[in-house]
Symmetry: C2
Subunit: 337 residues, 2 copies
């Protein structure tokens, strides 16, 4: 017979708010620059001397950003942090701290919260990021993980979207179109699973080091992450910098698994790479005179590819050159359309 | 005849994400310490020299924290910011910036978003707080307004929950139990409406100035806000400071409207004031030797009452003394129970 106190706790509401907060905070370790950590009305941290504060927030909503049928709990937590670290990376910032706002259904299994934290804390540890505070609320509907990330950057090293000039080269880190293939294959479960692409969708690696290096030696004139796809990222740099961009389709870094998957589906890899989101690579521009700086960054990237995919143009239009000729870029993804 | 482009835009999904973001950012003005405002991957701000960063996050979820049948849009926005400013106040911090994470149903009327912003921006202006960034996502269920607030405090002026010592006096700002009467009267619509109490529920005034003054001259030894009720706040100081607290029921600052409402309902005003949440007053403790500092704070509070309601005790228990004798404090509110 099991005594009442030994009955297994199953749901968030079985456990209750206080016990849930304690269960989470028990897993957190605070470095010396955290003056007041979780458990008070707010967190207090020491800023890094001589730096600016970089702030971003992004949420993962069940049924919108993730589907629990094929996104395991650790991937929910990993993604919730990764999308925010990617935003900091695109500013050239070093991530330091995060706040975690959880909105959880009563009936949610506590093991899902535990698993979500496994993923989030594992990525946080990899980037020396500390969860300094947060909040837990009830949800009458979907599970939500809203993260605010705080980073630091030296004043002259901030990367924005607005610094591109005609003649700059256009570059992207890593490969593009992977996450979108991963997501589609998880959704449809058709054909052989493209494992690496699925991993890219489930556990994207934010390009924190690349962003820091590009900011540190001021190699990049503009930078943005590709969270909503390559075409969207291109458009954002063009708008903020008031320039045009021309991409070269044959230069796009599209991996073999992505090409094979699109061949099997009869879909076009180029369009998918332009339109597909969730890659979390960095798209950036480099002045012709700063090739030496870019070489320096490349040397320190431990094998992460950096590919030149086009040029910044004076004429304010967005083109891609393919074997069939030059055409306009497709419009970006809109979360409400 | 109305041309298609002049058709009135009704819902969030009619408008689309980009237009919605532009509609919001068009209303924001940036001071000089905001290096990069909304519209890039992240916001960049200059820290205030010689201060620590204070960070907090709190969400308002439709159906949990507000009911749109009786909470007007401006009050949703006001409350979303107020609960966060209250947390900063409880640390003695000066609020500076906020990030706004909106999770909105497709079918939500855009006028509700506009009204919500009216309330939020009006309170922000009153406290010199700037919306420096944020995010908008779709919700498959309830509307959610998640706010992260960033404040500044000088190192020796941080107020925590952990500094109370036996012999300290226990104080509370304003009056208690008002918001809970306001909420109940809005929910039940019974009897004559207690207008001031409803206002306290809908548009609470975070005690930012009181918190800053209590920190600045170090009048308070511990401080917490009463977001989850007075009993909960007392318990949190007791736990963090490892002390007990004894309250005097006759001293509780309970307003006439609150007493009348409870008399009419046949409910007890004392218990309701202890258990009822949403007041967002500050509960704090003061060393006997620091009465002069407290007098100084009081003089600068422009009429906001500060009432002594009890004492910190060595014996680690929570009591309230009433005419009927001494009894234990009721347990705090748990959002999941």
């Amino acid at each position: 017979m099991i005594a009442p106190t030994q009955l297994p706790v199953r749901t968030v509401s079985d456990l209750g708010e206080r016990a849930l907060v304690e269960r989470i905070t028990a897993r957190l370790a605070m470095p010396s620059w955290v003056v007041v950590g979780p458990g008070d009305d707010a967190a207090v941290i020491e800023p890094e001397r001589g730096t600016l504060e970089v702030l971003t927030t992004d949420v993962q909503v069940e049924g919108v950003h993730f589907d629990r049928r094929f996104v395991p709990p650790d991937a929910i937590g990993h993604r919730a942090l990764a999308v925010n670290l990617s935003d900091l990376a695109a500013m050239g910032a070093t991530p330091r701290a995060v706040l975690l706002s959880l909105v959880l259904p009563d009936a949610l299994d506590v093991t899902i919260v535990d698993g979500m934290l496994d993923g989030l804390l594992s990525l946080a540890a990899a980037h020396n990021v500390v969860v300094v505070g947060g909040n837990i609320s009830r949800s009458p509907g979907p599970m939500m993980v809203d993260v605010t990330a705080i980073g630091a950057v030296r004043p002259r090293r901030v990367l924005t979207r607005g610094g591109a000039r005609p003649g700059d080269g256009v570059y992207v880190t890593g490969t593009v179109g992977d996450a979108s293939v991963g997501l589609q294959s998880l959704q449809t479960a058709r054909g052989p699973a493209p494992h690496a692409c699925q991993q890219r969708y489930l556990r994207p690696q934010p390009r924190v080091r690349a962003g820091m290096l590009l900011g540190r030696n001021r190699a990049a004139s503009a930078c943005v992450d590709t969270s909503d796809g390559l075409a969207d990222a291109v458009r954002r740099i063009a708008e903020a910098s008031q320039v045009g961009l021309a991409l070269d389709a044959s230069a796009l870094p599209i991996g073999d698994e992505v090409r094979r998957w699109h061949d099997a589906q009869g879909s076009g890899a180029i369009d998918a790479a332009l339109g597909g989101g969730d890659d979390y690579e960095l798209l950036f521009t480099v002045r012709p005179a700063h090739q030496g700086r870019l070489r320096d960054v490349r040397r320190r990237l431990d094998g992460l590819p950096v590919t030149k995919i086009g040029m910044v143009t004076k004429e304010r239009q967005l083109f891609i050159r393919t074997e069939a000729g030059q055409r306009r870029l497709p419009a970006g993804f809109d979360h409400f359309r």
